[in-house]
């Protein structure tokens, strides 16, 4: 009997701290464990007792990358709980923020975390020594996205203008035009970058899987919609009946199953569930022979690159028709209520659920994309490694890392919760 164990104590180029253990016996996979060993940050308990208008500010600090998504999920859950009306104009402005931060997150992932694996460098810093133009382009795209988010949000990391029912500042026509101009300016680069990420040589592994994303029947929604799987559609308020969380002893983060199955959320899931890519993105996919729905796990990368094009088109359309926003006094009809919001963060579905009493948070449950993906990541690793188990350790390790990175896991997001019991496998 030949046994081998591949261990990665600290997976680099992902957000947060995670490890991987693969045990192989006679070229057969015995065990795969994707463990998260980051300390817990008890966010749900941190926000209990806090006034409702602080909830978006506090939950924003769950994640430094998808904080716009957290803020908007949070404010929508508060608005749902307290019956606060939101105008179409405010929704559109929020969508613009979601889109620019979405593209920036994808760019960060594609160029800085994923790309080094495919061109054989250790990091984008090393890449900068070889191809400074490419890295500069990536920085330019990120910078442009941050600029657009900050136009509306005040700053890109933890924006400071989002309020129940609206924004704290006037958003002038001039600002909206600047947003539009910037998006038009980077659009050709987003197309170019999609060509790059559609042409890389990805691991071929495919696995039939359940996919989950928002659906509104019109496009690929980020802001609101019903929750759809490949088999069912339900209202966000019913999430608790379908999505169940469980704990495993080698990871500090919770994991979720939907109707008893592991599932994938994120860019590939969104396109698989909705189809409906806008013209330019669809044309690109056709040109490179990429078809959806697809079970090819590593195609999460091209799916992100296509989303960049799709959402940029959507943002330009929204911005073209948007009027100046003037802050107004918001009516808060009640101080008690229960609210749920499901939105699409860059890495997938994100749910915030609060109970508010006398204006203060009494209960909170937040389910993040990486918590939803964790089980799926492990099953995919198991499946792929089984196929390549007779290869040498270095190859298995590299391929496993590619698969993990494709999911763009965000550990910071997934360890926001309190769990009783062992803190870490390393203790």
């Amino acid at each position: 009997m030949v046994e081998k164990k591949i261990e990665i104590k600290e997976i680099t180029k992902i957000e947060g701290h995670a490890n991987l253990t693969i045990e192989i016996e006679d070229d057969r996979v015995k065990r795969v464990a994707f463990g998260i060993h980051e300390g817990l940050r008890h966010f749900e308990t941190l926000i209990i007792g806090k006034r409702y208008h602080y909830l978006p500010e506090l939950t924003s600090r769950i994640c430094g990358i998808c904080n716009v998504a957290h803020q908007i999920a949070s404010i929508r859950a508060v608005e749902d709980a307290l019956g606060i009306e939101v105008s179409e104009q405010v929704k559109d402005l929020r969508k613009l923020m979601l889109i620019s931060s979405h593209i920036q997150s994808h760019i960060l992932h594609l160029y800085f975390l994923a790309l080094p694996d495919y061109i054989g460098v250790e990091s984008a810093i090393e890449l900068a020594r070889k191809d400074i133009k490419l890295v500069k382009k990536a920085f330019k795209l990120k910078e442009a996205c941050n600029y657009m988010t900050a136009l509306i949000g005040g700053r890109a990391v933890h924006p400071c203008t989002i309020l129940p029912g609206g924004f704290s500042k006037r958003i002038t026509k001039g600002m909206i035009d600047k947003y539009l101009k910037k998006m038009r300016e980077i659009y050709p680069f987003l197309l170019e970058s999609a060509e790059l990420f559609l042409s890389l040589d990805y691991p071929p592994y495919e696995r039939e899987s359940e996919y989950v994303a928002l659906r509104d029947g019109r496009g690929i929604p980020l802001y609101e919609g019903k929750i759809a799987t490949m088999h069912a559609v339900f209202d966000a308020h019913e999430y608790g009946e379908h999505i169940k969380e469980r704990a495993v002893d080698y990871s500090t983060a919770k994991r979720s199953l939907i109707d008893g199955r592991d599932f994938m959320v994120g860019a590939l899931a969104r396109i698989n569930i909705n189809g409906k890519l806008r013209e330019d993105a669809r044309e690109l996919a056709n040109r490179f022979g990429i078809r959806f729905p697809s079970n090819r796990v590593a195609w999460i990368n091209p799916a992100q690159a296509l989303e960049n094009v799709h959402y940029a088109m959507e943002a330009m359309e929204i911005a073209e028709n948007l009027k100046e926003y003037e802050p107004e006094k918001i009516e808060v009809p009640r101080t008690d209520g229960e609210g749920v919001a499901a939105i699409e963060a860059p890495r997938g579905l994100l749910i915030h659920h609060y109970v508010i009493e006398k204006g203060k948070c009494r209960y909170a449950n937040i389910i993040t994309p990486t918590a939803m993906n964790a089980e799926n990541i492990e099953r995919s690793l198991e499946g792929y490694v089984s196929k390549i188990a007779d290869e040498d350790d270095g190859f298995i390790r590299k391929e496993a890392e590619k698969v993990i990175r494709a999911y763009d896991p965000c550990v910071s997001c997934s360890v926001h919760v309190m769990r009783i019991g062992k803190m870490s496998t390393f203790l």
Partner: protein
């Protein structure tokens, strides 16, 4: 000279903000090598000359990691409020300075890029770098923003250390105090002013506990006793 960006438990927003320096990073690379940055690098080394640490240790493993970083760095900088004061995590966590000596703090959630540039410049030209000794209000009045406190909002500007160019009030939102309080801030007097303005004890405690729980512990206790 080389630097490292290390991450303990936190939102990693400060790492992201570091990357958000975009092309300036490429300039920084002309002066410093980045030897350690797990978010974007596969090969990460110690020792480093300057270690930037974001987040707080949330388990023994992370405490050990922090001690190792301290042993292997000339200058240790607490990057962002989590690390410098405990930030939003303060009710359950202790700042980095509780475990090791910290040479400099860059406050803010996330830290201010301008201040980081100031700090890096101070290293290159070997100049002193210190904490600002005035409030966000100073910056806010220089910008001639209308005062939100006077308009009836609970603003933490008067006791919060400057350096963000009064970002939130400039965007129409009261300051949440994310940078922590400055040296001579009169914390109790701010609490009294807020009480006089008609805010409830409870509301004030809520605001004081958001980001600066540790700094403001005494005033919070004092308010509770009132």
């Amino acid at each position: 000279m080389n630097i490292g960006i290390f991450s303990l438990s936190c939102c990693e927003g400060c790492s992201v903000e570091f990357l958000n320096m975009e092309e300036e990073i490429l300039d920084i690379l002309n002066h410093f090598g980045i030897e350690n940055f797990r978010l974007v690098k596969e090969v990460n080394k110690l020792p480093v000359d300057v270690a930037f640490v974001e987040g707080v240790p949330a388990n023994e493993n992370e405490v050990a990691k922090l001690l190792e970083i301290r042993r292997n760095s000339e200058i240790l900088v607490a990057l962002g409020s989590c690390s410098a004061t405990g930030g939003v995590l303060a009710p359950g966590a202790k700042p980095v300075g509780h475990y090791v000596d910290v040479d400099h703090c860059l406050y803010g959630c996330p830290f201010s890029r301008d201040e980081l540039k100031e700090f890096l410049t101070s290293i290159i030209i070997d100049k002193a770098f210190g904490k600002k000794e005035y409030s966000v209000c100073m910056e806010c009045s220089l910008l001639e923003n209308g005062c939100l406190l006077e308009e009836g909002y609970l603003c933490m500007g008067p006791i919060t250390v400057a350096g963000c160019n009064a970002l939130c009030p400039s965007n129409g939102k009261p300051c949440l105090g994310c940078r922590g309080s400055y040296e001579d801030a009169n914390l109790k007097s701010h609490a009294k002013i807020l009480l006089d303005k008609g805010f409830s004890k409870d509301e004030i405690i809520d605001a004081f506990s958001l980001f600066s729980h540790r700094d403001l512990r005494e005033v919070i206790e004092w308010l509770k006793r009132r």
